[in-house]
Symmetry: C2
Subunit: 214 residues, 2 copies
């Protein structure tokens, strides 16, 4: 059987040398750069290869196809994206837990804008790749955490509102600063928008959740 290229760490294949793993990392990073800026169809293997510092056939030696690169990239993405929400602790203080989530999400927009844009791109296009997993993993997690938030509200610890839409709001407000970066900077004149954004979101969610101090 002609195994075309190394799979992540497949069945009976050597688990891949350190160098292989590193090259694949490099490729993935280059792919992230290009895919997030140009979209799936806009990205070309040539550009990704160039960005990674190798030739197109060489890239195809490490990944069997453009699709494959994209899918591996996408694979890790959703997990990374949902981790902060997963970290929200039902036993913690409601206000701190939610605010910590907001802050963490805003940090991600600042520190990983490419990932955010890649994700946005995928969703805007109708989630052709990670569509199925949205209806399972994502849906489950959101409803689970929404239930937690609802309990907090029923216990009177934060002001009531629709907890699912609250989560949407957090996503929308934080990711906006990564995905619509150029627009934000066009208005704000190229200063770093994040300090102001943090301050604003602090205020917004404090009031939404029922501020006790202001």
């Amino acid at each position: 059987m002609s195994e075309k290229a190394a799979q992540p760490e497949t069945v009976e294949n050597r688990p891949m040398t350190r160098i292989q793993r590193k090259k694949r990392e490099t490729i993935l990073d280059a792919a992230l750069e290009v895919f997030s800026a140009e979209g799936f169809r806009g990205a070309t293997l040539d550009r990704i290869a160039a960005e990674a510092g190798l030739s197109k056939p060489n890239l195809l030696y490490y990944y069997p196809s453009k699709e494959a690169v994209f899918q591996e990239l996408m694979g890790g993405l959703l997990a990374t994206w949902l981790d902060p929400l997963k970290a929200m602790d039902p036993k913690g203080d409601p206000r701190s837990e939610i605010m910590a989530y907001v802050r963490r999400k805003l940090e991600m927009s600042r520190d990983f804008p490419r990932e955010s844009r890649l994700f946005a791109n995928e969703i805007v296009r109708g989630a052709p790749t990670l569509g199925p997993v949205l209806e399972t993993d994502l849906k489950t997690l959101v409803h689970e955490k929404a239930a937690v938030i609802r309990d907090w509200m029923h216990a009177g610890r934060i002001a009531p509102c629709d907890p699912v839409h609250l989560i949407f709001s957090i996503w929308a407000l934080t990711q906006h600063y990564a995905d619509f970066d150029v627009q934000v900077r066009a208005v704000l004149g190229h200063d770093d928008p994040f300090p102001g954004a943090e301050q604003h979101l602090e205020t917004l969610f404090a009031r939404l959740l029922g501020d006790t101090t202001a």
Copy 2:
């Protein structure tokens, strides 16, 4: 001089017949459909032509190039997009004016999701086409309206916060329901998300601006 194809209503050309105008409309609508779903590079002239019910060379008879179609589409878009903000009346009641803007913007997400996605796509890609106009028209308008809002805040008619980020928030929260539609529906299970969204945004902005009734 060999004029290639009819321009909008150019210099010494006939102002274009009703039929011509209509065909161009059809093409523009087809282009909106395809561009918003696939992005600029993902869209093909063949698909747009097919969607519009004509052949590729025939499409090229009405528009000189793919770029030209895209640009005309983009041209009208920003104006349409900013109109509701323009409509915010400095002499009106602060709370009603802002809430009306929010509602209008949410309606647009519901009724013109393709336009919203096209816009999102353009911005995410770094606004290669309408970049310049962001730094002029958009920036000016936003700061103008931000000033109005700031006055309202200083007059104590609504609770204070950063007015520019407030506008960003309105954009983010409303457009989210168009641009991330699949994600929203994946979580909400394909019911119409808009009634819930409206209710939620009503609550959110009421509290942010200083609710007097709840």
